[in-house]
Amino acid sequence: MNELSGKEFKLSSAQVSSNVADEVVILNHDKGVYYGLGEVGATLWSALESGPKSFDELCAVVTAEYEVDRETCEADVAALLSELMHEKLVEADS
C-alpha cells in the first residue's frame, strides 16, 4: 500500500496531448512546457483519457498489458503519477 492507493486520478485542465500509437506528447499550456511519455506512460495516459481512474484500476491496466509483478507495477505507477501530478498534468481526488 502507498499514500496514492485510495485516490482517484484524472487529467488536469492545464494539459492537452497528442497521442499516436505508443507515444504521447503533452503540453502544459499554463507553463508552456512539453512532456513526452514512453510506452508504459502512454498506456497509463490513454486509460486516464477515457475518464478518471482509481490507483487500482490504473495498476490493473498496466498488469494486463505488461508482464510485471503487482509490487513492481504499483511502485512504477505511483512514481509516474507523482511526477505527472508534480507537473500539474494529473490531479488526484481523495
Binding site: V16, S18, V20, L27, G32
Partner: protein, 301 residues
C-alpha cells in the same frame, strides 16, 4: 472603400489592397473591416518577425487585442477577429498593402481561431500540400515549381488552416500572389515579361496566377518540412506525435501570442493535422532540375 476576398473572408478596406481579389458588389456585408485610425499602443515587445529589413514589434492587451508595429510603415491593432485598425506612417500604397496582407491580417486570422503556419501552399489535384521551413529553405521556390507544373497556388508565406466538425484540416486560399527570387525565375525558366518586379532595388518578382485561384478551402493532405541538412535522409516520415511541437516552430506571428488557450489550440490543431495529413521531412532537391523532377513525381503519385 473597397471589397476584397482573401482567406475565405470578405474584407472591406479603407486602404487599397491590390494583392487581394477584388469583389464586385461592395455593398455585401464584410467579415473583416480594415479601418484607418490612430492607434494607442501599449508597451511593445520585439519579435523575430522581419519584413523588408524592419523588425515588427508586438503586444497583446487584456481584452485580446493584438498590436503590431513596423517602424516607418504602419501600426496595427487587431480586434475581435473582425476589425483591423491601421495607422499608416508612409504614403507608399504598395508598401502599406504588403504589410497589411501579411502578419497584420494574420493577427485577425489568429483571433478567428485558425491554425497559422509560416508556409506556402498549393493545390495538387483535389488536395493541398504545405511547405514549411526556415527562411531560405525553399518554401516559395517549391510552391513556384508546383505552380509551373499545373498546381494552383493557395498561399505564399502565410498559410491559414481551418477544421471541419471531424477535425479534418483545410487550407484557406489566401490570395493569388507568389514572390520569387530572380534566380528562381531563371532556374525554372519563367518568362520575365509575365512577372512584375516586387519593388525597386529588390531582386524579387511577383507571379500572379489570377486564373483558377481556388475559392473554397482545400483538404490538407501533405506537409513538407523543407531542410538543407545532408546528414538527414532525403525524405523521411515525420513522427506524428511530435507534430504539435514542430509546428509551433513555424508559427508566423510573435511567439508571445502562443500562451495559454491559444497555445493549447495550436497544439490541438497541429495534432489534428498529423492525424489527417502526412508530414514529411524533405531535404530540398539540389538544383532546379532535381526540384522539377520531384514535383513531377508528386503530381503523378
Amino acid at each position: 472603400m473597397s471589397l476584397y476576398r482573401a482567406f475565405d473572408l470578405r474584407i472591406h478596406s479603407e486602404i487599397l489592397l491590390p494583392e487581394l481579389i477584388p469583389l464586385e458588389n461592395a455593398d455585401q456585408e464584410a467579415d473583416v473591416k480594415i479601418v484607418r485610425s490612430t492607434v494607442d499602443f501599449p508597451d511593445l515587445e520585439p519579435t523575430s518577425i522581419h519584413r523588408r529589413g524592419i523588425m515588427a514589434q508586438s503586444a497583446e492587451d487584456v481584452n485580446g487585442a493584438i498590436y503590431l508595429r513596423w517602424e516607418g510603415v504602419a501600426g496595427y491593432k487587431a480586434v475581435n477577429g473582425d476589425t483591423l485598425y491601421i495607422e499608416p506612417y508612409t504614403d507608399d500604397a504598395e508598401l502599406l498593402s504588403l504589410f497589411t496582407v501579411s502578419e497584420a491580417l494574420g493577427c485577425i486570422l489568429l483571433q478567428r481561431g485558425l491554425l497559422l503556419l509560416h508556409a506556402s501552399s498549393v493545390q495538387v489535384g483535389s488536395v493541398a500540400y504545405s511547405f514549411l521551413g526556415e527562411p531560405g529553405a525553399g518554401k516559395s521556390t517549391t510552391a513556384t515549381a508546383f505552380v509551373k507544373h499545373g498546381s494552383h497556388l493557395l498561399s505564399d508565406d502565410l498559410t491559414a488552416i481551418c477544421f471541419d466538425d471531424n477535425n479534418r484540416p483545410f487550407v484557406l486560399p489566401a490570395y493569388p500572389q507568389l514572390k520569387i527570387w530572380e534566380n528562381t525565375v531563371n532556374g525554372l525558366n519563367f518568362d520575365k515579361s509575365e512577372l512584375t518586379p516586387v519593388a525597386e532595388g529588390i531582386n524579387k518578382f511577383s507571379l500572379r496566377p489570377g486564373v483558377n485561384f481556388p475559392a473554397e478551402p482545400i483538404p490538407l493532405a501533405k506537409i513538407f518540412l523543407l531542410h538543407d541538412r545532408p546528414e538527414l535522409p532525403a525524405t523521411q516520415k515525420f513522427s506524428p506525435v511530435e507534430a504539435p511541437i514542430e509546428l509551433v516552430r513555424h508559427f508566423p506571428l510573435s511567439a508571445r501570442l502562443l500562451r495559454g488557450k491559444v497555445h493549447q489550440r495550436h497544439f490541438q490543431q497541429s495534432s489534428w493535422c498529423a492525424t489527417h495529413a502526412q508530414i514529411w521531412n524533405k531535404r530540398r532537391p539540389a538544383g532546379f532540375a532535381a526540384l522539377e523532377k520531384w514535383v513531377s513525381e508528386q503530381h503523378s503519385a
